[in-house]
Amino acid sequence: MKKVLIVDDEPHLRLLYETDLRRAGFETMTAANAEQGLEYVDTMHPDLIVLDIRMAGMDGVEALQRILDRDNTIPVILNTAYSSYRENFMTWAADAYVTKSSNTSELVETVRELLNEEMVQN
């Protein structure tokens, strides 16, 4: 089963994403901040990361770069309520952007696409 790491500082969103991604057939793990997320990247080796951008402490933009520096093959979905981040050059190495919503269908579909793509490549 593919492992998805959710990095978000909002507990209710972590719970929502975790619930819906599990229902879609993925194993999940959650981190409440970027630092913890990076630790899990090193220790838990997730297959995909859903990454919030605006977080207290290290933000998702810097976390993205640090994740890819550790392993540039992990798919990363940036998940934010602010569309202006798409214009930020420092986010352009991400695999996808998904706007935050209580309806997780787009997020689940994007996770599925990226992991299926990975499986085809492998």
């Binding site: 810097e62 770069q65 550790r70 093959t73 050059f89 420092m90 352009w92 190495a93």
Partner: protein
């Protein structure tokens, strides 16, 4: 829109971290762009002078290996920018902003510094090499780039077929769109109608910023890549028909202009000797396109009669470049480049050689086809460059037969 507007929206990156292993021992204590050249210059002075002369005054120099010598040179010689007016020259070493890696290639250096592009939001970015000898108006290239409206314009030089395999070989259509690109092929394709020459990628790039960021980000996610512009970024862009070539020509004659990539010691030696020919292809005395350099305060060069117990001999210099503070005393110098504060003593003979700052040549010493790095003292009577076997026994000798003596080497023991 002001005609200067495109310059204001253009940022320049100079890749100045080259290790220059094939230039060793000249790169023993310095990176390739910091290697002295032409008596008073460092190699990077040519690219920087081109920037200033072209109106590009927002420059980041990416440094990496052995950067102190280059840092010192840029600080002393290029502190000419008006920061209040928005001009700058900043040196950017690997800052380990996103990890502990060094720059793993030219594209990787740009990827690591995307925050600079995000901060400046330029419309175009020049990516230049700090180790080429040439005089080029980047403004004309920018105008060509804007007219062609493709994501990337690259400088294209015509070079002899021999040696062209060291470069990326270009194939272009009648509108200079690049339709074929082969990085360092064993058998380079020649220019149509001219079997003796090839069209090559100079490593002078002008990107639309959006394309540059997209490509280096894409490259950063690949597993099979050397993160190099020539090998990994340009070929896929050519395949997508996104690249235009800008032919590098002499603006007056329209003939291919002088351009040398200082890759090896023999390249370095030959480019240096080009300067002392009677009519050099690259004119250092052109007041319309000055090549700037940092120079230590020095008295004028001088030639004097040398007087010894055997009589006197004039100090003669022909077809040579002589730096400030250098004295040729009763010695003969032909087809050579002497840096600053060099001293050639009586009955010394120096031919077809490059002597960097502070070299002292003892009486009756003879030097032929030698590169001598800074502050070496050649003992009285020593002969170098006339007996290949003897030379190889004591010194590094290049494939082309040029002897190289490292900085501050002690020849008395």
């Amino acid at each position: 829109m002001s005609s200067l507007q495109p310059f204001r929206k253009t940022l320049t990156i100079i890749l100045a971290g080259g290790q220059g292993e094939r230039l060793y021992p000249l790169t023993k204590d310095r990176s390739k762009p910091a290697v002295p050249f032409g008596g008073v210059y460092r190699i990077i002075d040519f690219t920087l002078s081109n920037c200033i002369n072209s109106g590009l005054k927002r420059i980041y120099a990416f440094t990496q290996y052995k950067s102190f010598s280059l840092d010192k040179h840029l600080q002393r010689g290029w502190n000419i920018f008006s920061y209040e007016a928005g001009e700058f020259l900043y040196r950017i070493p690997p800052q380990h902003r996103i990890g502990m890696k060094w720059y793993e290639g030219t594209a990787h250096a740009v990827y690591h510094n995307i925050y600079l592009l995000e901060h400046n939001k330029p419309e175009q970015v020049f990516v230049l090499s700090g180790d080429h000898i040439y005089k080029m108006d980047y403004g004309a290239m920018l105008a060509s780039h804007l007219a062609h409206d493709l994501p990337l314009t690259l400088g294209a030089a015509v070079v002899p077929r021999e040696g062209a395999h060291h470069f990326g070989i270009l194939e272009v259509d009648e509108n200079w769109r690049v339709i074929g690109f082969a990085e360092k092929p064993a058998r380079p394709r020649t220019v149509p109608g001219d079997p003796d020459h090839c069209l090559v990628n100079m490593g002078v790039y002008l990107f639309d910023t959006v394309s540059l960021v997209r490509e280096v980000c894409h490259d950063a996610r690949r597993t099979e890549t050397s993160h190099d512009f020539g090998r990994d970024i340009i070929p896929p862009m050519v395949a997508k028909n996104q690249v235009c070539a800008y032919p590098f020509r002499d603006t007056k004659s329209e003939e291919p202009a002088y351009w040398r990539d200082i890759g090896t010691l023999d390249n370095y030696y030959q480019a240096s000797m080009d300067l002392v020919s009677r009519r050099p292809q690259i004119d250092l005395y052109d007041r319309d396109w000055p090549i700037r350099a940092w120079r230590a305060p020095a008295p004028p060069a001088k030639s004097v009669h040398g007087v010894t117990e055997d009589g006197s001999m004039p100090g003669e210099m022909t077809d040579s470049i002589i730096g400030g503070g250098t004295i040729v005393s009763g010695a003969k110098v032909e087809r050579s480049i002497l840096g600053s504060f060099v001293k050639i003593n009586s009955y010394g003979r120096v031919s077809e050689s490059i002597l960097m700052d502070g070299v002292q040549v003892g009486r009756r010493a003879e030097l032929n086809r030698v590169i001598i790095d800074k502050n070496v003292i050649i003992p009285e009577g020593m002969v170098i460059g006339h007996d290949p076997d003897e030379d190889r026994a004591h010194f590094q000798v290049t494939e082309g037969g040029v002897i190289v003596i490292p900085k501050e080497m002690n020849l008395h023991e």
